[in-house]
Amino acid sequence: MKFQPVIGLEVHCQLKTDSKIFCGCSTKFGAEPNSQTCPVCLGMPGSLPVLNRKVVEFAIKAGLATNCSISHRSVFARKNYFYPDLPKGYQISQFEEPICRKGWLDIQVDGIEKRIGITRIHMEEDAGKLVHGDVAGLEEGSGVDLNRACTPLLEIVSEPDLRSSDEAVAYLKQLHRIVTWLGICDGNMEEGSFRCDANVSVMPLGSETFGTRAEIKNVNSFKFVKQAIEYEIQRQIDLIEDGGTVVQETRLFDPNSGRTRSMRGKEEAHDYRYFPDPDLVPLVIDADWVQRAHGELPELPEHKQQRFITEYGVTGYDAEVLTASRSLAEYFEECVAFHHNAKAVSNWIMGEVTRALNDSGTTIDACPVLPKTLADLLKLIDSGAISGKIAKTVFDEMWRSGKEPGAIVEEQGLLQVSDSGAIEAIIDEIMAANQGQVEEYRGGKEKVFGFFVGQVMKASKGKANPALVNELLLARLKG
């Protein structure tokens, strides 16, 4: 029997605010355990949470960027359960009235576009962190660090519209690009700022009734999401084919083995008894507020990607790479504004700039070569002042020293030689020194031509104008 996988994703994005969602404690990562806590996030009796306005603004932006409708009224609710990383015994979340509903994202897999529904987006607080082992005194027992407790999260829930692990990854990448683009989440998956739970089930191909689903937790990279989903699909198919049935449960992905395993402990705790949190007043967002947020949205990645193709004539692939992040896209556009050769700018950014960034482990935000200076370099190439090859040397020097390309070319005497007399002189020298090859060429072995080009370029230290070298060599060799 053939099976059809059905996948829905719940993504948690940690929001890039300075302070927590319901108190003024800092959200900075990596501080001494429990040093960023106060009575509110420690869950002390009598303390009262007050909503961070920026969290609402970020949630509205996320909603608008994913085509959701923004609820006029939304309410915070308590999700009740006991766990040592949850000081109050409940998590403040949203349940019946989330801030955003009914959106969608378009994804592309193998050139086929597909629309994936977004059920809802809601705001909630994160829990603390549990630490096991490697701390003195924790050989026995577990450590609780509440610095992360009460940091703001958005939970973005997709419809069960995804049908393969590739679609799931494409959706995740698209969502990741949007939240980082909006500047509301740093997207760091290793630190857990962008994490994902996957609901996976299988049904016989052609069926319309979904199978029983398992929820996979703890998948913190695109690669692991793909692995975890594929493992889980196969596990369920094998189980059914062996006459078994899938049980609804929470499973944990183990990156070391590539498998998912059951988390039995939490199954019985699924009775959360949600109710509206009386400590927090309802949130009302009027049309003006939504309008204002709309006006503050940057041009979104999909739109920019499309515009790069139509406005600058770059290929679909280039447009996708150039809009991988907002900073990269802005770098490109700024550079094109200084030098109207989008193809050259695109090639250089995707080639030399990316290579240099990778080699030095920096990001485009910290790129030592600014768009304006890169444009200056490309102008030197397009005007024929230097060759494309020499430009790479100049670029490396710009990266190292921060000097202007024009100054480097002048200092090192790298100007392209387009003086035919000078080039002819070099050609004559080379031909005189390599009589054997001249004979070969004249005898019909045209491949030797490349040898002469190489020698002339070498003798001119790469500065001879390559087109001119070709032209003059051809004339001279023909005799």
């Binding site: 605010t17 001494e32 429990n34 106060c38 909503l51 920026k54 309410v75 660090d145 007043v281």
Partner: protein, 95 residues
């Protein structure tokens, strides 16, 4: 009787409460009385009434996104029954 002993046991379990047989009987009676009282409201027509989640009609209380000093590790851990370095220590949690 609307409430059963099994339901009292379930709720007690969710709240991590251990109840004696006498207490269970006592709470079955009490919870039943409470729900019976609430049931009276079903007699009212509430078609045009919004569910009341808050007693006072106030909306939109915000604070600005400004980090404030925290209370410090010493105070945060002052009432902790057990600690290790700057962590609260709890019985081993196995996922």
């Amino acid at each position: 009787m609307k409430i059963t002993t099994a339901e009292v046991e379930h709720v007690a379990r969710l709240a991590r409460l251990e109840l004696s047989a006498e207490e269970k009987d006592l709470f079955v009676g009490q919870m039943d009385a409470i729900l019976g009282y609430v049931d009276k409201l079903r007699g009212l027509n509430t078609d045009d009434v919004q569910p009341t989640s808050h007693a006072v009609p106030v909306e939109n209380a915000f604070r600005p996104d400004q980090a404030q000093p925290s209370i410090g590790v010493a105070k945060a851990l002052a009432n902790a029954p057990d600690r290790a370095e700057s962590f609260y220590r709890v019985p081993k949690v196995i996922e």
